[in-house]
């Protein structure tokens, strides 16, 4: 066991994966000498050389397309998109190609590749360094999308992602990189996709989140415990496949649900979760499912006043929870 923060867990897990399997290589902008702008691949160039640690040109379309080609030749590329906000030039390669190759070839070809992308806000990143992109990709059949946010899950899910036969979008909340620390077993282990984790038990309200948001939800929930309100906090970890069983089980207990995410509300993951709860547990709901998500504006603004306006924080979550629990 070693205590690490999230980005250290990314770094160490990737490093181990490259040590263990020659087919694993990393590619992206500044992953070489710079070691990644968040230092996720620090020292890799020295340890593995430029053939396995590839500084690509500034072209995300290339990064994705190249990774597909590598994966088709039985390599295990782990591509870094420097900020999730810059993944859109690669949209066609990811959505038309990576996601559809197994299906369109009737299983003849597969694309075992991982795309790592730091996402999320609260870091003065403004419109183009704060975005959440999970809904756009989770909608696309053929892609797996995960968003672990503890050092433990990062290790377990990154190993799983690299060994997964399919393209995986591996979302790392950039604010958790240095903020969230935790114990990580030194030995190899995996955390399966599609299994949510109940981070806190409670009977009064089910709170469903992932990434930075469940950490804030937990903080708010702990505060409310003092008032005798017990909130169940679920960290989804995996966006697709989505573990609705855990959510539904909790709903059966609490009858009240709040879904929280940074991605905007309209067609955000909260919509799907709410729809599935409606389909499978309508009679168990005491009140409408509440979605807490940013307003319909094009991503987070820069000024502190505006950023604060945009992003839910623990204070706001506490208040929303209190209100809903006492509904």
């Amino acid at each position: 066991m070693t205590v690490k923060n999230v980005v250290q867990a990314v770094h160490d897990t990737l490093h181990e994966a490259m040590m263990l399997d020659e087919r694993v290589l990393v590619l992206g902008e500044d992953v070489g000498a710079r070691g990644g702008v968040f230092r996720a691949t620090m020292g890799f160039l020295d340890d593995f050389g430029p053939e396995r640690v590839i500084d690509t040109p500034l072209d995300e379309c290339l990064i994705a397309g190249l990774s597909i080609g590598l994966a088709l030749d039985d390599m295990r590329p782990v591509a870094e998109i420097q900020f999730a906000d810059f993944i859109y030039p690669a949209f066609n390669q990811i959505v038309s190609e990576a996601a559809r190759i197994r299906y369109r070839s009737n299983g003849d070809f597969g694309v075992p590749m991982v795309i790592r992308a730091p996402y999320g806000g609260g870091v003065h990143g403004a419109l183009y360094h704060s975005q959440s992109i999970e809904a756009l990709f989770a909608h696309v059949p053929g892609l797996k999308v995960v968003a672990p946010s503890t050092p433990y899950d990062v290790k377990g899910m990154l190993i799983h992602a690299i060994e997964d036969p399919d393209p995986v979008l591996f979302l790392e909340h950039k604010k958790t990189y240095r903020l969230i620390k935790g114990e990580v077993p030194d030995d190899r282990f995996t955390v399966p996709f599609g299994v949510a984790e109940v981070r806190r038990q409670g009977d009064d309200l089910t709170c469903v989140a992932y990434g930075l948001m469940w950490h804030l939800c937990l903080e708010a929930a702990e505060r409310l415990a003092g008032e005798g309100i017990e909130i169940e906090v679920i960290d989804l970890r995996s966006i697709y496949p989505l573990d609705m069983d855990t959510v539904l089980q909790s709903v059966g207990k609490t009858g009240k649900v709040m879904v929280v995410h940074e991605d905007n509300k309209f067609l955000g993951l909260g919509a799907e979760i709410s729809a599935q709860i409606g389909e499978q547990a309508l009679s168990e709901l005491d009140c409408p499912v509440v979605r807490i998500a940013p307003p319909h504006v094009p991503a987070m603004p820069y000024s502190p006043t505006l950023e604060h306006w945009y992003l839910p924080d623990a204070d706001r979550l506490e208040q929303e929870m209190r209100e809903l629990a006492s509904y």
Partner: protein, 338 residues
């Protein structure tokens, strides 16, 4: 037809044996006759969608022949029926794809016809979005280089395909890393209706220089020239000397697809002019000039090939459609979705 430098035939100079010539000729004919057959099936309402190859046979067979089957990798585009015949597709395979039958090797009837792919034949699965395969080719070439495998990668595309960002990215990366990758542009002067002059600023082959590697242009209707240019590029790539861009100028004889009507955008005189440059009769003239074939054998081969194509089409037509119970398979490698 002039004999080569040391009194050798042109093909001997290029290292091609008589069996190569016959194989190349056969692939051209098969492609042409498959094309004719698929159009007639389309008119009969039996094949809802056809992508024609006619006119491109010289460029495709000539360039593909320079690669080593079973070792090198092909990343073609939809126009490349003659090419995949070189790479190991049978005529029956072609028609299974045309009809969308369960045994279609490319996709089991999931994709439109002419969306070639087959792992066993080293043909990478292709899609409709233009030029995506060019980047896969770069990734494959990088992989071969990293693994120090003696395989090279070829990718084919139309001149319209040079406009997408994917193409630019692949050219740039191939140049930086001196990848064992051959870019073959089948320039038929039109992207559906859009003429080259509104598609390509400058000239395709001249782009290569800007990426620091050689670009060459050749007559796409001269199969031996296509072979020669590609073979030189393949040899360079195999020697670790990096990529080449080859522009083969040619023409398609039919409309873009069976959904298109080329009369709105191509003067029929132009079409006629290019039909006079047909790569097949041209190659036949060469084969006769070097005494590999004569008119009566040509007649015989043509006849037999046509029969072969018609038979294959018939058998494929009778084959089974995919069972809907398989329709949700192979979305993921591990999860079942339905």
């Amino acid at each position: 037809m002039k004999p080569g430098k040391q009194g050798k035939d042109r093909h001997t100079e290029l290292g091609l044996k008589e069996e190569d010539l016959l194989g190349m000729y056969r692939c051209m004919l098969l492609a042409r006759f498959c094309d004719e057959r698929q159009w007639s099936l389309n008119r009969q309402g039996k094949a809802p969608f056809v992508i024609p190859v006619s006119g491109h046979e010289g460029a495709q067979v000539g360039s593909a022949w320079a690669f080593e089957r079973g070792k090198d990798i092909f990343c073609p585009y939809y126009r490349d029926m003659a090419l995949v015949l070189v790479a190991g597709f049978t005529v029956y395979d072609v028609f299974l794809g045309l009809f969308g039958k369960a045994d279609d090797p490319s996709s089991g009837g999931r994709q439109m016809p002419a969306h070639w792919g087959s792992k066993a034949r080293n043909i990478i699965t292709g899609s409709s979005p233009i030029s995506t395969q060019v980047l896969h080719a770069a990734g494959l070439a990088l992989s071969k280089k990293i693994k120090h495998e003696d395989a090279i990668v070829g990718t084919w595309f139309g001149e319209g395909g040079t406009s997408e960002g994917d193409w630019h990215g692949a050219m740039n990366f191939a140049g930086i890393h001196a990848l064992p990758l051959i870019f073959v542009c089948e320039n038929n002067q039109y992207a559906i209706s859009v003429h080259e002059s509104r598609q390509v600023a400058g000239r395709v082959y001249k782009r290569a220089k800007g990426y620091g590697f050689p670009g060459v242009v050749g007559d796409g209707n001269n199969i031996l020239e296509c072979y020669k240019l590609t073979k030189e590029a393949v040899d360079r790539a195999r020697a670790g000397e990096g990529p080449t861009l080859i522009e083969l100028r040619t023409y398609r004889y039919y409309s873009h697809t069976s959904d298109d009507d080329d009369r709105t955008y191509r003067p029929s005189a132009e079409v006629q002019e290019w039909k006079r440059k047909d790569p097949i009769p041209r190659f036949e003239r060469y084969l006769k000039s070097v005494d590999v074939l004569d008119d009566s054998v040509i007649e015989e081969v043509r006849g037999a090939t046509k029969v072969e194509v018609t038979e294959a089409a018939k058998t494929a037509e009778a084959a089974d459609f995919p069972d809907p119970s398989t329709a949700a398979k192979n979305v993921f490698g591990d999860i079942e979705v339905v």
